[in-house]
C-alpha cells in the first residue's frame, strides 16, 4: 500500500493506492501550517480505506510550497554565491539579471574567484586557496549560513565545486552548501540561479520535511516518505531537505504521471482542461516530455527539468463570441458559477454551449434552451478544433495518439478528435496529482560536452552510468532495478572536433517495491 499526497496552494489531496488501484481518495483544504492539512487528509483516507498502518510501504508527497515561496518572495534565507570562473564572466556577475525584490531577499552576497575548466577540461585559471578562504571567511563574518557554489563546466567535472565546498565545511562547519552540479545542467547563469534558489530554500526545506515527518509520526506511520521532483521521479526525504528546488513544477508533472497510472498508458497526450486554460502535456515512456527552453521561476531564469506544457486559452468558463466562431482566451474563471447563463448570469460560456447541446447536465438547462442551434453547433465544433490543434502541436508523430482527458473541463469534449486514436476519461482524475506523486520510481540525470574522437563513447557512457547509479542508490533505489531511461545527444555548433553534448537519465524502483524479489 502507498499513500500519495499533493499539497497545493488551496487543496491538499490524498489517495491510498494498492498497486495501481485507488482504494481511497480525498480533497481537504491546505492549512496555514501545512501539517494540519496533511494530517486531515491522512485521517480521511485512512478511515475511508481501513488499511492497517503497518501495511503502508511508503508515503509520497508532492508539494508546491517551494515554488510558492520563490514566487511570493517569502521564507527565502540570506544566501551567498561563490562562482569559480574568473577571469571569465567578470562583467556578468551572479544575480545580474535577477528582479530586485527577490535578489534583496537573498542579499547580493556575490563572490567571484579564479578557476573553472574549459569544455574539454583545461583549467581556465588555477585555484587559489587564499582567495577561496578569503571569500569563505567573509561570508562567515557576515553571519550568512547558506552558500551556493558554481564553477565553469561543473556538470562535466564537479571537482572544483567539491573542493570549495569541502573548504567551507572545514572552516565553518555550520554553513550549508548547494553545489550547482547537483542541481542544474549546462548553462552557467541558469545553473547558478538554480543553486542560489535551492540554497536559500534550505531552512524552509528543513521545516517542511520535519512537518511531513511529524504528520506521519502523529498517525503512527513509520514507513519512509518521498518527495516528488519536477521530472516525475521521487527523492528521499533526506534528499529533498538538501534539494528543495528540484520540486519546482512537480504539480503538472504529477498530473501527467497520474494520468499515466490511471490509464496504464506510457505514451499519450494528456489534456487537463480547467476553467480558464487547458494544459497539454505529453507522456513518453510514462514520464512527461521535458521542455528544453530556459524556464523562469519567480522571474529568475533557470534550466530546471520542467515538463513541456502547452497552455491554451480554453476552459469551462471561456467566453463564446462571434456566433460561436471565437472561443476564449478570455474566461469568467471562478465566476462561472455566477456569470454563466446556466447559473442565471448573462455571459455566454463554453459550459452553457455544451449544456445547450445536451452533452452535459450542469446548472439550469432551461436558461439556454433559446440559444441558436447554429451557434451551439459552431461553438462545439470550434471547441473540438482548438483541442485538436493543441494536441497536434504537442504530439511527437504524425499518427493519431491516445488522448487522456482530465480536469473539470474535460466534459467540453463530447465528440471524437482527429488527433486522437482513442480518448480516455479516467475515474479519480480530480486527484491525479496525488496519484502521480505515489509513483514508485527514482531518477537521476547528468550531462557532459565530450569529443568522441578523444574519449570513446562507450567509456563516456560507462562513466556517466556509474555516477548516476551511485546517485540513485543514495536516493533509495534498488540496485537490481536501476536502468537507463534516456540518452540525448546534441552536436555543438561551429566546433571543428565534433563535440557532442550528451545527457543521460537513469531510473530505478524504490527498494520496498521489489522487497519480495530479494
Amino acid at each position: 500500500m502507498r499513500i500519495g499526497i499533493d499539497v497545493g496552494g488551496t487543496h491538499t489531496d490524498a489517495v491510498v493506492l494498492d498497486e495501481q488501484d485507488v482504494v481511497a481518495s480525498t480533497k481537504v483544504l491546505t492549512s496555514a501550517n501545512v501539517k494540519d492539512g496533511v494530517v486531515n487528509a491522512l485521517d480521511e483516507v485512512l478511515s475511508q480505506s481501513h488499511v492497517e498502518h503497518g501495511t503502508i510501504d511508503a508515503v509520497m508527497i508532492g508539494t508546491t510550497q517551494f515554488t510558492n515561496a520563490v514566487i511570493e518572495r517569502r521564507e527565502l534565507a540570506p544566501t551567498a554565491i561563490i562562482r569559480v570562473a574568473l577571469p571569465s564572466g567578470e562583467l556578468v556577475p551572479p544575480m545580474i539579471d535577477w528582479p530586485d525584490d527577490i535578489a534583496n531577499e537573498l542579499g547580493r552576497h556575490v563572490y567571484m574567484i579564479h578557476g573553472g575548466r574549459t569544455y574539454d577540461g583545461f583549467p581556465i585559471a588555477p585555484l587559489d586557496d587564499a582567495e577561496i578562504d578569503g571569500a569563505i571567511d567573509d561570508i562567515a563574518a557576515k553571519g550568512i549560513q547558506l552558500v551556493a557554489i558554481t564553477s565553469v563546466f561543473s556538470p562535466s567535472d564537479p571537482a572544483q565545486e567539491e573542493y570549495v565546498a569541502a573548504r567551507v565545511k572545514e572552516r565553518h562547519p555550520g554553513i550549508r552548501v548547494t553545489q550547482s552540479h547537483n542541481i542544474g545542467r549546462m548553462g552557467l547563469l541558469e545553473r547558478e540561479n538554480a543553486a542560489l534558489l535551492n540554497a536559500s530554500l534550505l531552512p524552509l526545506a528543513d521545516r517542511v520535511v520535519q512537518s511531513f515527518a511529524g504528520a506521519l509520526t502523529d498517525r503512527q506511520i513509520n514507513c519512509p516518505f518521498y518527495v516528488s521532483q519536477n521530472d516525475g521521479t521521487l527523492m528521499s526525504a533526506e534528499f529533498a531537505a538538501e534539494f528543495p528546488a528540484l520540486t519546482f513544477a512537480s504539480g503538472p508533472t504529477n498530473s501527467l504521471r497520474g494520468a499515466s497510472l490511471l490509464t496504464n498508458l506510457d505514451d499519450a497526450v494528456v489534456v487537463d482542461i480547467g476553467g480558464t486554460t487547458s494544459d497539454i502535456g505529453v507522456l513518453q515512456d510514462g514520464f512527461p516530455r521535458q521542455s528544453n527552453i530556459a524556464i523562469e521561476v519567480g522571474g529568475v531564469r533557470t534550466n530546471f527539468r520542467m515538463p513541456d506544457i502547452l497552455a491554451i486559452g480554453l476552459g469551462g468558463g471561456s467566453l463564446v463570441l462571434d456566433g460561436g466562431n471565437t472561443i476564449g482566451p478570455r474566461s469568467v474563471g471562478y465566476r462561472l458559477v455566477t456569470d454563466g447563463l446556466v447559473f442565471g448570469g448573462d455571459t455566454l460560456t463554453t459550459t452553457d454551449v455544451i449544456v445547450a447541446a445536451g452533452t452535459a447536465n450542469i446548472g439550469d438547462a432551461a436558461k439556454v434552451a433559446e440559444l441558436d442551434a447554429g451557434l451551439v453547433g459552431t461553438a462545439v465544433d470550434k471547441i473540438h478544433s482548438i483541442v485538436d490543434n493543441g494536441i497536434d502541436q504537442m504530439k511527437s508523430s504524425r499518427e493519431p495518439v491516445p488522448v487522456v482527458l482530465v480536469g473539470g473541463g474535460a466534459i467540453l469534449v463530447s465528440k471524437s478528435l482527429d488527433t486522437a486514436a482513442e480518448i480516455h476519461r479516467p475515474e479519480h482524475s480530480g486527484v491525479a496529482n496525488a496519484i502521480g506523486a505515489a509513483n514508485a520510481q527514482v531518477g537521476s540525470e547528468t550531462e557532459r560536452i565530450v569529443s568522441y574522437r578523444r574519449i570513446p563513447k562507450e567509456r563516456v557512457l560507462q562513466e556517466m552510468k556509474e555516477i548516476l547509479t551511485a546517485k540513485l542508490l543514495q536516493a533509495g533505489a534498488d540496485p537490481n532495478t536501476v536502468k537507463l531511461a534516456d540518452i540525448e545527444e546534441t552536436s555543438v555548433s561551429y566546433m571543428a572536433d565534433e563535440s557532442t553534448r550528451i545527457r543521460v537519465k537513469m531510473v530505478g524502483d524504490l527498494s520496498f517495491t521489489s522487497r519480495g524479489d530479494t
Partner: protein, 363 residues
C-alpha cells in the same frame, strides 16, 4: 543618416539580428546583458554611415569566433572586445579609426557596440555578411580581396594569439582551431582595410536595419500573417530587395547530425489546410536550402528565416522540434553576394549541394 543606438534599443536589436541569423548565430542573451550594462555606463553609440567613412580611414572588423553553445557555460570576461583593440594597435603600431562587425546575425551584431562605447572608436553601420554564415572566406571583406591579417584574437582567459596569414582559407582553419583550443570561443580583430576598401567590402546599413526589424517585430507583435506586411515593406525598400512568404506549416520531421563540426540536418514541414507538397529545409548551422516538393524555392546566399507562426519569434536551427507551427520567409541576399566571385564561396555548391544558385526572385 546617422542612427543612434541607446540601451533601450538593445532588446529589439538582438531580436532583429536573430531574424537575420537565418537559424544560426546562437542565443544573444549574455551579449545583451553586457551591451546594456555598457551603454548604461558610457551612453549611446552613434553609428557611422558607410558613406561618411573617410578614404584614409583604418577600419578593423571585430567579432566572436567559435561555438555559441560553449559560451553559455564559459562566459566571456566582458573586456575581450576592448583588449583586442589595444593589442591589435600595439602590434600593428597604428590607431584604428573605425570598427565594423563581422556579421549582423546573432551576438556579433551587438558586441561591437561595447567596443565603440568604451573605447570611443566610431562603429560603422554595416557588417561583413548582412546575415550569418559560418566561415571567414564567406565574409564580404574576404570576397572583396581584403587580407585577413594582421589579426589578433583574445580568449576568455585574457590570452592572445597573433595571426600573420595571408590566405583566407588557411586563416579560417587557424582561427577555428585556436577557438577550440582556447575553450570554444575567442574574440578577434581582423581584416584591416582602408576607407576605400571598406566602402567596397562592407554591407552597408545592416545594424540599423536589424534594429528596424526588431522594432517591427515588437511593435506588430502577433502571428506571422500580422507581421508580414511590415517586414515586407522594410525588406523591399532595402538592399535585400525582396521578401517572400515561402511556406506556413508544421514541423513533422527533424533529422540532425554532426558532420565536420557543423550541425547538419533536414527539417520537413507539412502544409496545414492546403494540399501543397511538404517543404524540406536543409540545415548546416543556418538554414541553407528550402524546397517545396522537389522544387528549390530559396537557397544560400539568399536568406531563409523561420519564425514561430503564433508569436513570430525567429527560431534558431538548434531549437527546431516536431509539432512547431512555423512560417518560413525567403529574403534576397545583399548584392555583394550576387557576384560570380562571391558565389564561388557562398552558393549552394560551396556547402556541398549539387545544384547552381538561382536568385530567389526567379524561383
Amino acid at each position: 543618416m546617422s542612427v543612434t543606438i541607446t540601451r533601450s534599443d538593445i532588446a529589439d536589436l538582438c531580436a532583429g539580428s536573430v531574424f537575420l541569423a537565418t537559424g544560426g548565430g546562437g542565443d544573444p542573451y549574455v551579449s545583451q546583458i553586457l551591451v546594456e550594462q555598457s551603454l548604461q555606463k558610457y551612453g549611446p553609440v552613434d553609428l557611422v554611415p558607410l558613406d561618411d567613412v573617410p578614404d584614409d580611414a583604418y577600419v578593423v572588423a571585430i567579432g566572436e569566433v567559435g561555438a555559441p553553445t560553449v559560451s553559455l557555460e564559459q562566459l566571456p570576461i566582458g573586456t575581450e572586445c576592448l583588449d583586442v583593440i589595444d593589442r591589435f594597435e600595439a602590434w600593428v603600431g597604428r590607431k584604428i579609426t573605425h570598427i565594423v562587425s563581422f556579421e549582423v546575425g546573432g551576438a556579433n551584431s551587438v558586441i561591437p557596440l561595447i567596443t565603440s562605447a568604451a573605447k570611443q572608436i566610431p562603429l560603422i553601420d554595416g557588417d561583413g555578411m548582412g546575415r550569418a554564415l559560418p566561415e571567414a572566406q564567406m565574409m564580404t571583406f574576404a570576397i572583396e580581396g581584403v587580407c585577413p591579417s594582421p589579426a589578433v584574437s583574445v580568449d576568455y582567459t585574457g590570452g592572445s594569439v597573433y595571426f600573420d596569414t595571408k590566405d583566407t582559407l588557411l586563416y579560417e582553419r587557424q582561427v577555428r582551431n585556436i577557438a577550440m583550443a582556447m575553450g570554444g570561443m575567442i574574440f578577434t580583430a581582423e581584416h584591416p582595410m582602408t576607407g576605400i576598401e571598406a566602402k567596397r567590402a562592407i554591407v552597408p546599413g545592416t545594424i540599423s536595419f536589424a534594429l528596424e526589424i526588431g522594432r517591427a517585430l515588437s511593435a506588430n507583435y502577433g502571428n506571422a500573417k500580422q507581421i508580414e506586411p511590415s517586414l515586407m515593406a522594410l525588406f523591399d525598400n532595402s538592399d535585400y530587395g525582396i521578401f517572400k512568404h515561402l511556406y506556413t506549416g508544421k514541423i513533422v520531421d527533424i533529422d540532425r547530425k554532426i558532420v565536420g563540426g557543423f550541425d547538419v540536418g533536414e527539417a520537413r514541414i507539412d502544409s496545414v489546410g492546403t494540399d501543397e507538397p511538404p517543404m524540406t529545409l536543409s540545415i548546416k548551422n543556418e538554414f541553407l536550402v528550402a524546397k517545396v516538393g522537389d522544387r528549390v524555392v530559396a537557397s544560400v546566399p539568399d536568406l531563409i528565416t523561420m519564425v514561430d507562426h503564433e508569436t513570430s519569434s525567429p527560431i534558431n536551427s538548434e531549437r527546431v522540434h516536431y509539432g512547431q507551427r512555423v512560417t518560413v520567409f525567403g529574403i534576397g541576399c545583399p548584392p555583394h553576394y550576387r557576384t560570380e566571385k562571391a558565389l564561388e564561396v557562398v552558393a549552394p555548391r560551396a556547402f556541398g549541394f549539387d545544384f547552381d544558385y538561382r536568385p530567389i526572385e526567379s524561383l
